[in-house]
Symmetry: C2
Subunit: 412 residues, 2 copies
């Protein structure tokens, strides 16, 4: 008998039919004798509707009220899931975030979980009761107000609950049957991975793979929560295991590259002929940081005359215009001649813990892309991944090229 | 400077445009220097949608989960109203029922308010803050679970809050501009009343007028809350006062009859030739009471042979079939010859505190209806009202006849 947390995302609770199908997955685990906690998202589309209403109410709005509004979607699905489970003969009750309680800090809109007391839920297990917890939300105890955990926050609710109650497993049910080597819509030969390490998953999630919220992976890693990504759309009587996110040492055979991620949410800015003197980087990046703009890739190239340099970096597309305005304003204090920008770029990343022990992986990628005539605008690397900025038009060609190069293609 | 509670019903918060218009009514009172608490319903249609989903989830469902689901609609409008008020420059914050807290008993689905602690809301007044409270809901403290107050429960939330904080006035904003002598759709000559006594309003609400939840009137009466029914659809800069629900002694000139209500939610059952012996009434009505069926009007007529009697009574239309089944089953124990039923009936009531001091009011009505050829199937009277059961086909004729008879018609 194990203790399980099962999380169902928006498409898995989109309507009563889908809730019923998801409930059959819960029933299978209950029938197997496990103690089950269910975490649910809002019905797909609901959170967007609520967010839209907040925007309609006022373009700049109190994020505490935003949280009170948008957290309501999960309350609906938690109650409905409890009712459906009861109709299947399974004792169940819903838990709103503040009832558990799931306590967070007061960073409304993207709050961080500080503590979870699973005592009451665990007491319910003794009576054979399934707990259905509304995801995405918590309580800031000092103010007594509702908080939300940011987009995809129900993943974090699930993994954090699993950690708090020392669950044997956390299953993240979604509309795909696991984590793929890359987006199958781009690369038909993409393969489902049986296992991915926490570190790799963290990079994939950060670099554009949307299957899990980044913070949920961090928590899974910190608490060593065995997490599966699997599909609620499969036959509940005969499900596949999906992809296990686990510690590195639990992965026997390590690929050099495990997956290729890509993100169109990058915009490039280039400052031409910046005076090459100490403190110049600060004069550029401090104002951006103060405006809460994350700078990602940075490359610096000495220009023809050796007294100036060209500086290229990327920012999230949403912050591109703001970043331009800030840089225009600081033109004199920075001292550059031309500001160039490009939003039509994509960041392609290859991730694999095997890179630690294999040199020259990135170099192989550069060569392969060059052979296809793809120009690399910027490069960043870390211990287990490298990222390349290229023109968006080459996205598919580049992803497929790297996918083949690193042996990820499914056997025909 | 006064302390006010303003309640906005579903049609007054149906969308962002309507919320904005309602917010302007709030702003008018804030600008006048008043301390304001706002109570909101769910957007019109939302509660029905949530109730529908619960029914779709399981026809028989846990009413505690039903409450958790259906209470979510008001959370949305409370947050949105707070955001809109802030956008008008008014400090505001939303309060969920459990945050206030509004404590109730555990009669989920139609819980009764047991206590309200308005301390935190009143503290907000000092900072010029408007409290926006989600109506219709409360918290059962022992179980820590959400309760709802039944259909129209936001009226009750508003009046109870007004009582708890000793508000000077409670304004119930709706889509009509007050309480009418009868339904203007049936009687075009219906008049808006300037004042109605609590007792009359209680009877009107119980007898079919849908403008206020019955319990809200009981609470208004018990705590002597000066309650106005008025329209949110009018120009916020130039609103009319609506109808004041107040103590009897605040009404100078008392009409004999104040209003005519009617309800099609009645079904008639007649037992023919019931043995006229002691205990017979119990053998009929105890099984119905045990099945939670409310019996309303009862008349007993001695039949031709003096050893038996005919018994006619009414039950809510929704309970008609269940009542028939129970009576069929107890045929032998009761001992009757024929069971007859009729759902095509209507109960028409005339209400007025003036009846206390005027004899023969009902008799005048019987005569006027007889002259129109309308057959009266049953009669009940109380101190300030009488009710007549007639064939539904005569509804409009009967209501108009009584409306004219008692001098309620608007001057042309």
């Amino acid at each position: 008998m194990a203790r399980l947390v099962l999380k169902f995302g928006g498409t898995s609770v989109a309507n009563l039919d889908r809730i019923r199908r998801s409930a059959l997955h819960v029933k299978r685990e209950v029938d197997a004798g496990h103690d089950v906690t269910v975490v649910v998202s809002a019905m797909s589309g609901k959170t967007n509707e609520l967010v839209g209403w907040c925007g309609e109410a006022a373009s700049l709005h109190d994020v505490r009220e935003y949280d009170a509004v948008v957290a309501s979607g999960e309350l609906v699905t938690a109650g409905l899931m409890a009712i459906v489970l009861q109709s299947l003969g399974i004792p169940a009750r819903s838990w709103q975030g503040w009832q558990v309680p799931i306590l967070t800090n007061d960073a409304h809109g993207s709050a961080r979980i500080q503590s979870i007391d699973p005592t009451a839920i665990i007491e319910g297990f003794a009576a054979g009761e399934v707990a259905v917890v509304a995801g995405f939300q918590g309580l800031h105890q000092e103010s007594g107000r509702i908080t939300t955990l940011g987009r995809g926050g129900s993943d974090t609710s699930a993994v954090a609950l699993a950690g708090a109650m020392k669950a044997d497993r956390c299953d993240i049910y979604t509309d795909v049957d696991g984590v793929y080597t890359t987006d199958p819509r781009i690369v038909p030969k993409a393969r489902r991975l049986d296992r991915v390490s926490f570190e790799e998953m963290l990079e994939m999630a950060s670099l554009g793979a949307k299957v899990l919220q980044v913070r949920s992976v961090e928590i899974a890693m910190n608490y060593n929560v065995k997490t599966f990504v699997r599909s609620s759309f499969e036959d509940p009587a005969n499900p596949s295991a999906g992809t296990l996110i686990c510690a590195e040492e639990d992965i026997m055979e390590q690929q050099v590259v495990t997956g290729i991620a890509f993100s169109k949410d990058e915009a490039q800015l280039t400052l031409r002929r910046v005076a090459d003197k100490p403190g110049i980087a600060a004069s550029i990046f401090v104002p951006l940081a103060e405006a809460n703009i994350n700078v990602d890739m940075i490359i610096q190239v000495v220009s023809d005359d050796t007294t100036t340099t060209d500086l290229t970096f990327t920012v999230p597309t949403a912050d591109y215009e703001r970043a331009r305005v800030i840089l225009e304003k600081s033109r004199e204090s920075i001292g550059y001649s031309v500001l160039q920008g490009n939003t039509d770029v994509v960041k392609i990343s290859a991730i694999g813990i095997g890179m630690r022990s294999h040199a020259g992986v990135a170099a192989r990628a550069f060569k392969a892309l060059a052979e296809k005539g793809i120009n690399i605008r910027a490069i960043t690397t870390s211990e287990i991944k490298f990222s390349l900025l290229i023109d968006a038009a080459y996205t598919e060609l580049a992803v497929r090229t790297l996918h083949s190069l690193f042996g990820l293609d499914r056997a025909a």
